[in-house]
Subunit: 493 residues, 2 copies
């Protein structure tokens, strides 16, 4: 067991982070990238000892953990490359026009880091969205020191990973305070971290209640700060009529595996499936039910998540008009989440906000609409989502334009004829959506654009070439893309 | 006089704006740009009638108004060009790798508009930051309908400009609801607009109290929305020792004109000048005082702003340790702001937060520090600013790196050897800084990057080429810059 950090410890960590900020932000892009790559290597070097401990702490199977560690290493390296490449800096140069009236000054802009970033580890991603995960990696790339609050459910894992980061920091001669690891099961630790004057941004992946609390604290500060909280999403899937005439059985099988992937503990788990009443939807529902009943329950991440799953699911199933379609035939053992599918009519769903809430686990609700008008109503009534999916033919899309546009409005990632689970780490990815799926739909937490969350523009007016940062010098010594007098170019001036 | 909008009128405006959002966002970049250019032409066509009315409403001289109208037209055209060019869309394409394990899907991302934007007209920029100003222009470029609440101090101007926008909208066959003009002197109108479910972002230029109120309302909504409020800034100027040995008299004269430009009613007015005790600072202060005493008071924008100037200035001058250096020798007439310079010691300034507050008008406070350590303390204690200026030689900058880095931390635009007044409209500009100068330092309100305030990324996964928006199609029919598999290019796939 680890002790909660004390307030003086937090104060000290923040003071150190603030000092480190002044040094680290002057490190070159290459130095930052090398530091990130060193973290990746140290993480790998933790070997099977790490996987074993994390397996014990999270109940996640070894194959998944091996994969997730690979992904975390991939992220660190990919974001390091992006950091060094510098596209994210949004470098802009407008050269002087002295004979304009009034004279136009030389003015050059780029992103600079915000300052120390507090990252809250995620329960469901002990590697990829925790201590050395996406938030930490992008904050380092942006030039920000990081303070991680370990998730109490995998505090040992977090401790090991933190040591790897600190080793990399020492090897790369990073300033003291570049990274601090803090334990804290109590509410007060989170509050103290978010409210500290030197905290300049917050990254969080978890429940709506947790994320909303951080957001409120951050906005009530004397100087508010941005909070990037990824909170809750039911990832609606719309089954369009022409598509349903094609491969409905295959579709149902595909979805059974998506719903139960990782015991449903993904933020992109499809928790809502919306179709039109009729024989196709009946076939879909029956097939999905049959598949689900064959899938064995799995042990969830920790007792709290399991209890929450059972409570939320029971609440949903108790609502008038909700009928269970199927659940796993295998009796669940301790802390095992049992895959479950239920169904409800469109109008009932529309009138009951509780059914719009996330049930975190292997559960999905099928909404049977009486017609396309009702399906459109459902789309218009849904809250903001990380993803939304259309199962549709080209014809469906062209005919049901209103529905397509309504769905576009509520999601960050718009998927066609696939499943929402599986979040590719690449620049084209958007993992973030309208509130309440995240607190800031203008940013995402996967892909190198996530670096921009932790930076802000600064313009240098009338500075001589020698005094400008390398990124903005005439010679373009870093060979980055810059917009010079409105044209994107790598050329020197 | 104009009547305040009623709640049903606001409801109707927002309903119309929401409907227009669905149509307008499907308009091509060229259609949006043409609409903006049409507004620019209609604004010009209002001719001298507009200037005359605005002069009566704001007390601003004709030459300034002519200039500001020119700038507003320039902004509309420049942002129209930027809109059409599409760099701001941040188009990203990652093509599928089917044989990767797991298979990588095709995923393509671009910015899409947030939805209806509410813009609050600014008192001090009746054209450039009001009805057809920067916020409106960038919202239109992003694809958002706009609802403008006229500033009551120039409601007639706003009404005329609104008619020009509506004429342009009709000529360009824009959907009904693309633009709505609302009058409202009461608090409740602003609240109803910010709290409306269909309002997706807010633009504001004005006082700290006003901006902070909008920010709080927006964050307390069930679904919080971004508020881009530009609020208050005292734009500190640091006089460095070696530079002070050069052209201190010229410098003082330069600053006398910057402090009094437009009766000091610019958000970038230099309200704080920080130097080191000694004969150079004495010369600077005396010269500045002599210049200021020769500058005649000017009529301020409206009685409220004048009263506020007098109240804030009197409060500041009453603080212990604050001494008046000089004020205009000319007796001010009704509602005329009298240029005033005062001085205070560094330690006194540090201990009195009231002296850090903006005094909106032709006023500046000279802070005399006993050494560079104290100057650094001042820099570290200052709140967030739109701009900060160094008057410094290259040597000064290299020697006083700690000061330079501390100042960098608190500003959005960092000026060397010039004055902060004068905000060039270009891509390299950053007009926005750490809180409380604006509510969101990650964005600015001048230059085409301001378009991004009103947009969010959406990723399309697994969509066929035909169904994708033109911006993301293989052929690149709009010939925009896109990042394809991590490389910026205009090539088709």
């Amino acid at each position: 067991m680890f002790n909660d950090a004390t307030i003086p410890e937090i104060e000290n960590a923040m003071q150190q982070a603030w000092k480190a900020f002044y040094i680290y932000r002057k490190c070159s892009l290459k130095q930052r990238a090398d530091f990130m790559r060193a973290i990746a290597r140290e993480l790998e070097a933790l070997g099977d000892e790490l996987l074993k401990l994390t397996g014990e702490e999270t109940n996640l199977p070894e194959a998944r953990l091996r994969n997730e560690r690979g992904r975390t290493i991939f992220q660190l390296n990919q974001y390091a490359d992006a950091c060094e490449k510098g596209d994210w800096l949004e470098a802009r140069i407008d050269t002087a026009i002295p004979d304009k009236a009034p004279p136009k000054p030389d003015i050059r802009k780029m992103l600079m880091p915000l300052g120390p970033v507090v990252v809250f580890g995620a329960a469901n991603f002990p590697f990829a969205y925790s201590t050395a995960g996406g938030d930490t990696a992008t904050a380092f790339a942006a030039g920000c020191p990081v303070i991680v609050k370990a998730h109490p459910a995998h505090a040992g894992t977090s401790e090991l990973v933190a040591k790897a980061i600190l080793k990399a920091a020492a090897d790369c001669e990073m300033p003291e305070g570049i990274f601090t690891h803090i334990h804290g099961a109590s509410f007060d630790i989170g509050k103290a971290l978010v409210e500290h004057i030197y905290t300049k941004a917050v990254g969080f992946t978890g429940s709506f209640i947790g994320g909303k609390q951080l957001f409120d604290w951050a906005n009530q500060r004397k100087v508010p700060i941005p909070v990037f909280a990824e909170m809750s999403s039911i990832n609606p899937v719309f089954l369009l009529p022409e598509k349903m005439k094609t491969d409905v059985v295959e579709m149902a099988k595909f979805y059974a595996s998506s719903i139960t992937l990782g015991v449903g503990q993904f933020c992109t788990n499809p928790g809502l499936i919306i179709g039109l009443e009729g024989k196709e939807l009946t076939t879909f529902t029956e097939t999905l039910g049959k598949e689900i009943s064959k899938i064995a329950p799995g042990t969830m991440l920790h007792a709290g998540i399991f209890k929450n799953y059972r409570k939320k699911k029971d609440e949903a199933l108790k609502q008038p008009g909700v009928e269970v379609v199927a659940f796993s035939e295998t009796k669940p053992a301790l802390n095992q989440g049992s895959p479950t599918i239920a169904t409800v009519k469109g109008q009932t769903f529309l009138n009951n906000p509780l059914l719009h809430q996330e049930v975190f686990g292997p559960y999905s609700l099928i909404v049977c609409c009486k017609d396309m008008k009702e399906m459109l109503q459902v789309a218009n009534h849904l809250e903001g989502q990380l993803t939304a999916t259309l199962m549709a033919t080209e014809n469906d899309i062209r005919i049901h334009d209103k529905l397509v546009e309504a769905v576009k409005n509520i999601c960050g990632r718009f998927i066609l004829n696939s499943v929402p689970t599986g979040v590719e780490v690449c620049l084209g990815m958007q993992h973030g959506g309208p509130y309440p799926s995240t607190t800031d739909a203008r940013f995402g937490s996967v892909g190198a654009d996530a670096i921009k969350r932790f930076a802000r523009p600064i313009a240098f007016q009338n500075w001589s070439n020698d005094l400008l940062p390398d990124e903005l010098k005439n010679e373009n010594p870093l060979s980055i893309w810059r917009t010079v007098n409105n044209e994107l170019t790598k050329k020197s001036l």
